[in-house]
């Protein structure tokens, strides 16, 4: 398929205002807890107080007797559920364990009961009356606990975790200059502003579920399996998601519990997670401890890269936070060794969180690059240029496109890198120490196959449909632009509908992948279907002209050398068609490609650190991104802003803290788990290096949701080092660490 001509969509697409913007700003966008249902009931989940052990007994009498309570479900009376599969195992579930399966408790907050009542107030009150008595065992929540089961991580969605090139350890020892340090990142929680919400409505054996999810079709399949009904009986709807960042990718136990409760009470049930439950019941980013060793010649040429380390998983399942994923590809080095261990802890199953793998991994690798730069006395940008990988050192394939050098150069120019002193602590303004730091950013481009239907209506408008998701990325806006760009018509004529399993199949919205190629393909199908009929139909002025000679230009069909042109509506009318509908499915097979496909970028950060208080303020950010075609300059810029801001939070504030004795999360609120607020965020300058990438997909886009966060924490830490001379290798960078 041809790539969309630059003239049609533009290499940097118009910064069109969000088409769903007016709905959102008027409060009319309906999120999953907001659909009306007759005779609705409210469910509240009750979590375990302990992190390891068993329920000895559970007293539900008080709750059952409370006014307004309709049902209390525990492991003792839970109706049967067919065992589901985990996301990694081809299903949808975030964790393998079925909710309320038995009396075993593996993590604090694990559901031990669900209460259904006439009102939210009644259900919330009754939930507090449930009393469980436990047989408690000491939980294992820290890596160095001797009881913790440790084992090597083997694979990540079919890709081997361990990778070796040459003899890394030997090369490290033989290197003229080397750095070898440990970096740590804490457990982090996604905390989208909308907590997870599910509403289940049974009508006989037909089920409709309104669910805050990034994976509608997966959820449908999983519900059909566990409730033993055909998939065609299940409809899952999610029109708007109030933020996700990965935690709404897998299906968590509350979705099963809500659906189960609705069947049990024979009425619609709505369950909305509390903010506290967002820390214990919908996954998190795993804690990591990483060793990065780099060995280089005196000229800064890296000879050895070693990246080993540990992340945690749940006691009853496996999730690998693949922090070594980008390392083999990032820099040219003849010798490399990466591997990871997993440690089983009494925490809930970890899951994907914005740029899973790269986010903690690039913190370690890019901090280590800064340390090497100091050790070898070469500027951090120059060191990266010296070790620039022209081909993917891991696969040996050429990159489909890579503009990282331009990112480094433009970023350095815009931040005023030449003003940076290589000597830490040498710039001061009053009580504040100033510093500059930088880091690389990267994220792979992945494709998941998807479907899209296209409809040309008699009035000349177009409708594209695919059951993908709007989680703030601007999906309906960007897809409308892509459709209009291919068709060559104004975007006002195009509508894109999403968020419902009644629409054609779309995959999980994750990994920065969406359905752009399917929309583009459907638009091409509309053109092909019409040109075929224009070629064949006696009603057509182009009758008898071979189809390939009929071209579409500027939204009109024409034949080279002829002056006559036909719009889409003209074609419909001439062919006496009331409308035209097409179906399209993508057929990606990334593994078969002989190109390495990645986005790249660079972050440049300025910080000031109060020398007496240890307060760190980020005062400026310049982020330069190379992501192929930028479909909508405005929404893409916002995606990068969002990534950078979450990265600043990661660098300075965010940590989900577990009490080492009880295994409970101690900061389960937005008042104690700090995320960046408006006052924390300085001006963020985003620049795009436009790339034409003809290999990657028909629209030349690489995805942009995740790359923005990668490298940010390292850039901040490197700037803090430049300001203070203190190297903080354990996030977040808090005042206590600066004063140790």
């Amino acid at each position: 398929m041809s790539i969309i001509e630059t003239t049609k969509l533009g290499l940097v697409g118009k910064g069109l205002d969000r088409l769903d913007g007016p709905f959102k700003v008027m409060g009319k966008a309906r999120y999953s807890a907001e659909f009306p249902a007759k005779k609705i009931t409210y469910a509240v989940g009750v979590g375990a107080d302990i992190a390891n052990g068993k329920i000895r007994s559970i007293n539900t009498a008080g709750a059952e007797a409370a006014p307004g309570v309709i049902a209390v479900i525990t492991h003792k009376n839970r109706p049967p559920l067919v065992d589901g599969k985990t996301f990694a195992g081809g299903g949808a579930q975030g964790e393998l364990r079925m909710p309320l399966a038995d009396n075993v408790i593996n993590h604090a907050g694990q559901y031990i009961a669900v209460v259904v009542a006439e009102s939210l107030e009644c259900a919330t009150y009754a939930a507090h009356l449930i009393k469980a008595v436990y047989i408690e065992e000491d939980p294992v929540v820290v890596f160095d606990d001797k009881r913790a089961q440790r084992y090597p991580a083997k694979q990540w969605f079919g890709e081997a975790v361990t990778k070796n090139r040459g003899e890394a350890q030997t090369a490290l020892l033989a290197s003229a200059v080397s750095v070898d340090n440990k970096y740590r990142t804490p457990t982090q929680s996604h905390n989208p502003m909308e907590t997870h919400a599910t509403m289940a409505v049974w009508e006989g054996d037909k089920l409709t579920v309104y669910d805050a999810t990034q994976g509608l079709y997966n959820t449908r399949k999983a519900l059909a399996l566990s409730f033993s009904v055909p998939e065609s009986n299940v409809r899952v709807v999610c029109k708007y998601i109030g933020g996700a960042f990965g935690c709404k990718g897998a299906m968590w136990p509350h979705v099963l519990l809500t659906t189960l409760a609705a069947r049990a009470v024979n009425r619609p049930v709505k369950l909305v997670l509390t903010r506290a439950q967002m820390f214990t019941n919908v996954g998190h980013r795993a804690e990591t401890e990483q060793r990065v060793a780099l060995g280089a010649t005196a000229d800064g040429a890296i000879q050895a890269i070693i990246h080993h380390g540990t992340s945690h998983t749940a006691v009853d399942g496996e999730f690998v936070e693949v922090f070594t994923k980008a390392t083999p590809m990032m820099y040219a080095s003849p010798n490399l060794s990466v591997s990871q261990d997993l440690v089983k802890l009494n925490k809930q199953m970890p899951t994907f969180m914005r740029a899973p793998g790269e986010t903690p991994g690039m913190f370690a690798l890019e901090s280590a690059m800064d340390e090497l730069s100091s050790a070898v006395k070469i500027d951090p940008v120059d060191l990266r240029l010296i070790n620039y990988a022209k081909r993917d050192p891991d696969s040996g394939h050429p990159f489909s496109s890579k503009s990282l050098i331009q990112c480094y150069k433009l970023g350095a120019e815009k931040i005023g890198w030449n003003k940076r002193s290589a000597t830490p602590g040498s710039r001061k303004e009053g009580d504040w120490l100033l510093g500059l730091g930088m880091a690389s950013a990267t994220y792979p481009t992945v494709h998941f196959n998807s479907m899209c239907n296209g409809l040309l209506k008699a009035d000349g408008t177009f409708l594209f449909t695919s059951s993908t998701h709007e989680m703030g990325t601007g999906t309906c806006t960007v897809m409308s632009q892509i459709g209009a760009g291919r068709l060559g018509v104004p975007v006002e004529l195009v509508t894109f509908e999403l968020g419902d399993t009644d629409l054609p199949m779309a995959p999980i919205s994750g990994g920065s992948a969406t359905v752009g190629s399917a929309v583009d393909g459907a638009a091409v199908e509309i053109q092909n279907a019409l040109s075929k009929q224009l070629s064949e139909s006696p009603l057509s002025p182009f009758s008898g002209v071979p189809q390939e000679k009929i071209v579409v230009s500027g939204g009109k069909f024409t034949v080279v050398g002829k002056s006559e042109t036909l719009s889409y509506v003209d074609a419909l009318k001439l062919l006496k068609l009331p409308s035209l509908e097409v179906k399209y499915q993508t057929h990606f097979n990334d593994k078969a490609k002989s190109f390495s496909m990645h986005s790249f970028g660079a972050h440049f950060v300025e910080v000031k650190v109060d020398q007496d208080l240890g307060t760190v303020r980020v005062t400026r950010v310049v982020s330069v991104m190379a992501n192929g075609r930028i479909a909508n300059e405005k929404t893409c810029r916002s995606q990068v802003h969002g990534g950078v801001i979450m990265g600043i939070g990661m660098a300075l504030e965010e940590a989900t803290l577990f009490d080492s004795r009880s295994g409970r999360v101690v900061n389960r609120s937005l008042g104690e788990y700090y995320v960046s607020v408006n006052a924390d965020i300085p001006p963020i300058e985003v620049h795009f290096i436009a790339e034409t990438d003809k290999e990657i997909n028909s629209i030349g886009a690489k995805g942009i949701g995740e790359i923005g966060i990668t490298g940010v924490a390292a850039a901040v830490a490197n700037a803090v080092y430049n300001a203070t001379g203190k190297r903080i290798r354990h996030l977040p960078i808090t005042a206590d660490k600066l004063f140790v």
């Binding site: 007016p22 009102s119 909305v272 960046s676």
Partner: protein, 163 residues
Amino acid sequence: MTVNGETKSVSIDPRTSLLDALREYMGLTGSKKGCDHGQCGACTVLVDGRRINSCLTFAVMYQGQKVTTIEGLANGDQLHAVQQAFVKHDGFQCGYCTPGQICSAVAMLAEAKAGCASAVTADLAAANVTLTDEEIRERMSGNLCRCGAYPGIVEAIRSLAEA
């Protein structure tokens, strides 16, 4: 109570928060629940023009009072100036914190006009407050946005402060 100019009469549990009364009993789901603890600002509504966290207060306390929610700001399909500015400057992504941000911004602009100082105001006695970016950021920090739309929010409010 009067909500968006309309008299609303509901019979509810006295434990019902103002936010839940709006969302669950009046069908006004524009105000959002992000934390239910007054920590995120997604539930911000206006009571007699002042911004409050509707999750932190009981509905029964507002009998006879005037409440304005996000649904009451536009005039039909004609967006309020703050709503327009948010769309133009991309002051949101997922849209979930947005109703709270916008209600907060409407009240905040009025507070600044009335000369209310903030933690970063240099001259506490000054009759007029200039809404610098620093002032806007400080005054909007009770409204969290996890998508990170803060730059657009500041731009949107700045465009109105300058107007």
